[in-house]
């Protein structure tokens, strides 16, 4: 299929673009296979380059022969195009509709994108499981890397290499996999250096209604316990949801078969509910005519903040079991690809200072989300504006980012990155020129041969100028565990995403620049000057002594 067939009218003159906080621009609208471009053909005027993949929904309106297209983007921005001529407008609209909803993966932009920057370090090779395991090996000998899943046959959503207890052989893993949802047998997620406790994650056990058990599964997870110690199983679902899962072949670990484990149920919602929540929240944020009462009641009704609180609370619980109780933890929900990953990754942010650095956070996203098989493509194919019925869409990763932002806001000096980094990740999960978030698992990514055919987002992020842009000026390495407050009074709406296009951030940006200025002036300029002078003075003093 050629893109040209889909583009009925490739260009229209005299189009007026209106968007938040920027002056109105009149110019020529061009449609290409992947972009909607508006150019005024004048210097110094910002042009619009919008990926079709970023378009969530469009609306058409006509007044006489003047057509208007409202473009609603997945990054929650809304822009307006006034197009003279009814036919042109209809053609443009139908082309955008088709181009923004292409199903064929091979036509996606990352396969066509050629980087305009020099790749210093190939992001596809930056975070290999082998390298991560080397760090683990330096701390403990109790774990090994297994390639039982090398052809993705044991678990289609796991990577080829996973860390498992040393004493458990591959055969046991295979049998345990058959007992877990999606073949997701318990694997290592995090090793807590301080006390040697671990966090594992998996899918739900397939106990079914008649309480099936699996000795290999029990052996596998018991192998992670120290003699005489108990562990915690954190089930991200409520007891009743977990009970209901039995009818569909799922279930939870019974006390009888797992006597060394204490099970705790939490209440993180399923993904379809999260999507509804996002839609309601964005709707509330977009209506500026609300009174205070109406705004607060809509915010409450969206339940978004409740999800944030629930996820953070569960992550704190996992971290607490490990750090405070000195116990190992197994986390799972139903599939083990959504709420499970929110919990395991946030617990690591709390426990492990390395995850709060720019590189470390990328490694975390790579390890706990991409390698761990979070289905990014399914979850992020539509955002809050789409009119089509959601299938598997859910803002699971966005909620994780929101939770990280909450911790970042409470500990503004403990993260090497600023919220810009989190916003950037949000944007790229929904629409990107990079291949990083394509596909639903390691196996899909490898079939698409993404590492050869596309550029990694990390190649872009890890260039010095980008690292500097994403850095937090207040950062001072903090080796401690950081316990965020999960009280509702401490959790705020993430303005950087949800109000980004609603209210100007000029004053807040200025404050940020001022902060950077204060610190840089102190750290760089002044320190250097003083050090130089100190040196000079020392020299003068030695000379003086020599003269004496």
């Amino acid at each position: 299929m050629e893109f040209a067939e889909l583009i009925k009218t490739p260009r229209v003159d005299g189009v007026v673009l209106r968007r938040p906080f920027l002056p109105t621009v009149e110019g020529t609208l061009c449609l290409t296979g992947h972009h909607l471009i508006l150019s005024s053909r004048q210097d110094n005027t910002e042009e619009l380059w919008l990926l079709h993949a970023n378009i969530d929904a469009i609306e058409k309106r006509f007044v006489g022969s003047l057509g208007t297209i409202i473009v609603k983007c997945k990054d929650l921005r809304v822009i307006q195009l006034d197009i003279p001529g009814m036919e042109e407008c209809l053609n443009i609209a139908s082309s955008i509709e088709v181009l923004s909803t292409l199903d064929s993966v091979s036509l996606m932009y990352p396969f066509f994108y050629r980087p305009m920057f020099q790749v210093i370090e190939d992001g596809w090779k930056s975070f290999l499981p082998e390298d991560a395991f080397k760090d683990l090996e330096s701390m403990t000998e109790e774990w090994r890397l297994s390639d039982v899943n090398k052809d993705y046959s044991v678990c289609s959503s796991y990577p080829p290499l996973v860390a498992v207890p040393k004493d458990v052989d591959d055969d046991t893993l295979r049998k345990a996999a058959a007992f877990r949802h999606g073949g997701r047998f318990p694997v290592l997620s995090y090793y807590h250096k301080k006390n040697g406790m671990v966090m594992m994650r998996s899918g739900q056990p397939l106990t079914g209604t008649n309480g099936r058990r699996c000795k290999e599964d029990e052996k596998l997870i018991n192998a992670t316990l120290r003699a005489g110690k108990r562990g915690y199983i954190i089930d991200t679902r409520t007891v009743s949801v977990a009970q209901q899962a039995k009818a569909r072949g799922g279930g939870f670990e019974s006390e009888a078969n797992y006597p060394q484990w204490r099970r705790i149920h939490k209440a993180i919602e399923r993904s379809s509910i999260l999507q509804e929540s996002l839609i309601k929240l964005v709707e509330a944020c977009n209506d500026q005519s609300h009174s205070m009462d109406r705004w607060l009641s809509k915010l409450e009704a969206s339940n978004w903040q409740t999800h944030v609180k629930e996820i953070l609370t569960t992550a704190c619980l996992a971290a607490q079991c490990i750090d405070r109780e000195g116990a190992s933890v197994l986390v799972h929900g139903t599939e083990g690809t959504d709420s499970t990953l929110q919990v395991t990754s946030l617990a690591q942010i709390i426990l492990d200072p390395a995850c709060r650095t720019i590189q470390g956070f990328q490694a975390l996203v790579e390890r706990e989300w991409l390698q761990a098989g979070h289905p990014f493509q399914q979850r992020c194919s539509q955002s809050a504006y789409s009119n089509s019925k959601p299938r598997c869409e859910a803002p699971v990763f966005l909620l994780f980012l929101d939770c990280v932002w909450q911790i970042l806001r409470q500990f503004p000096c403990s993260f090497q990155f600023s919220q810009h980094f989190l916003v950037l990740l949000f944007e790229h999960t929904y629409a990107s020129q990079f291949g990083t978030f394509m596909g639903n698992s390691a196996s899909e990514r490898s079939k698409l041969n993404l590492s050869q055919k596309t550029v990694s987002l990390w190649s872009w992020v890890n260039r010095p100028q980008e690292v500097e842009r994403l850095s937090n000026p207040l950062y001072e390495a903090n080796c401690l565990v950081i316990w965020p407050s999960v009280a509702p009074q401490s959790l705020l709406l993430w303005e950087g995403v949800f109000l980004r296009w609603k209210r100007s951030s000029r004053c807040l940006d200025e404050a940020y620049d001022e902060m950077v200025h204060i610190i840089q002036y102190n750290n760089k300029e002044l320190q250097n000057k003083v050090n130089n002078l100190r040196r000079q003075l020392a020299q003068l003093e030695t000379e003086e002594e020599e003269e004496d």
């Binding site: 205070m292 609180k309 509702p488 401490s490 004053c507 404050a511 001022e514 204060i518 003086e544």
Partner: protein, 575 residues
Amino acid sequence: FLNETVENVRLIDRTAPRKAMVGTLYLSATHTIFVENNPETRRETWVLHSMVASVERPPTTPSGSHLVVHTKNFQVVQLLIPQERDAMDVQASLARLSRPEKYSELYCLSINPNANKEEREESWSFLDLQADYRRMGVPNNLWVSTPANSEYRVCDTYPSELFVPKSATPPVIVGSSKFRSRGPSDPFFSQAAICRCSQPLSGFSARSQEDEQMLEAIMKSNPGSDYIYVVDTRPKLNAMANRAAGKGYENEDHYANIKLQFIGIENIHVMRNSQQKISDVGELKTPSMGDFLWGLESSGWLKHIKAVLDAGVFIAKAVAEEGISVVVHCSDGWDRTAQACSVASVLLEPYYRTMKGLMLLIERDWVSFGHKFSHRYNHLEGDPKEVSPVIDQFLECVWQLSEQFPCAFEFNERFLVQLHRHVYSCQYGNFLGNSQKERRDMGLRERTHSLWPQLWKDRAQYANPLYRADHTQTQGILRPNTTPYCFKMWKGMYNRVEKSSPPRQTPTDLLTAVREETQQLEEELTNHQEVAPGGTAQPGTKQGIQTRSRNAPNERCSLRPIYKFINVSLLITIN
């Protein structure tokens, strides 16, 4: 006169009830003091009696009697006293001590005024209201000072010095003031002016020629404009209801060239209940997100804050953008009017966004213009229906603004919290009484100290490190966004109790520390530069360098954490 001491008292940390400090409780004439037994820390917690809002005693438990002390600035101290008898005694004493019946029992009047006579006299000359009027450019050829109220004969809740339009003759001033309990006068002046007054005694049909002439004169004092705004800060319904009592609002048919605007700030009773609710929300122990948001909504507090800010925005826009003078009133002209005028001043004038400027603004719009501090802030045992958080709302508006304009204010949140505290504390004489006249009659300047120089002395801890007088954000008028989602609950006021490990980091403290370090480095730089060219280091300079180099780069880390974590002890000690 009283010295109760109770031993083996537990001070309970509300966030971690099991971690209680054991110590001794002392009741002095002015403070409740808890001293921890632990000989290493001996942490002290002081509560000024005048800050105590209530003392509750839940049913006795086997381990003893609890006392829950709520302070007027929304902190909670929970004590566990082994003997019920002692708990009852302490409760009774505190109830008496926290509700004085006479001014003379208040802290600021209980100390000898002549111990530091010079300092006291100096403290009262710290702020100069005259200078502020001069800074605004009054008097001038359009506005003059009137002697009409020099002995508080025209209006005993106004200051003795008032500015009025030059064209307003004495009969007009007196006539206008009779038609209102508080005639129009001018607190803010640029080209267009903001004037304030109380509601007119219009009823359904009454009118006053002098009052009409007065408003006409105000309009004429702004050459080039052909109308003025009359801002009635009340909801229109309330204003209409007042007509039945012979009061009300201006009839646009009688006053030529006025545009009447209602803003809809609720009355003091609504605000009092609303604040009670928001402080309950802040104290909820383990609320769900739904509980919290529902509580926030049903308290109505943020809605009221928005209304006050909207009033200020309307006035500021009229004056700065349309060049139209505004006459502001509510019912009496000392609550909502003070809020609206002072918020407008903060929006309009960068000076009022500095520490000294805000002090002056409070001194002018609140203290001198007869805000009833002692009634509103419950200084003495009195009518609970007179109590209302009027200035709390003004301070919160300033806080909400500082969240939107982080570089525009010279002070930080702590400054506002401290101001709020002192409005209630009565440690200084500034806010006693209900009008300038009352304060003069009490002889407060002779008997108490003024708060302002004390705050000024501590200004380093109240400074906003992001403030720069030459910053674009600092200049000119502020245009805040008042969409509901721009308002947040003021956690620093209503939800202060929270402990965590490691302690919360605040950018303000970190930046302040960096700023200080920068200053030290700059000094060192100057010293080095003085030394370097000559080649011979003076002994004195050398000395200076040595002491300063303690903060040399390799040891810098030790400097900063101290500042970052300083909050812990501040949170606990309420003195």
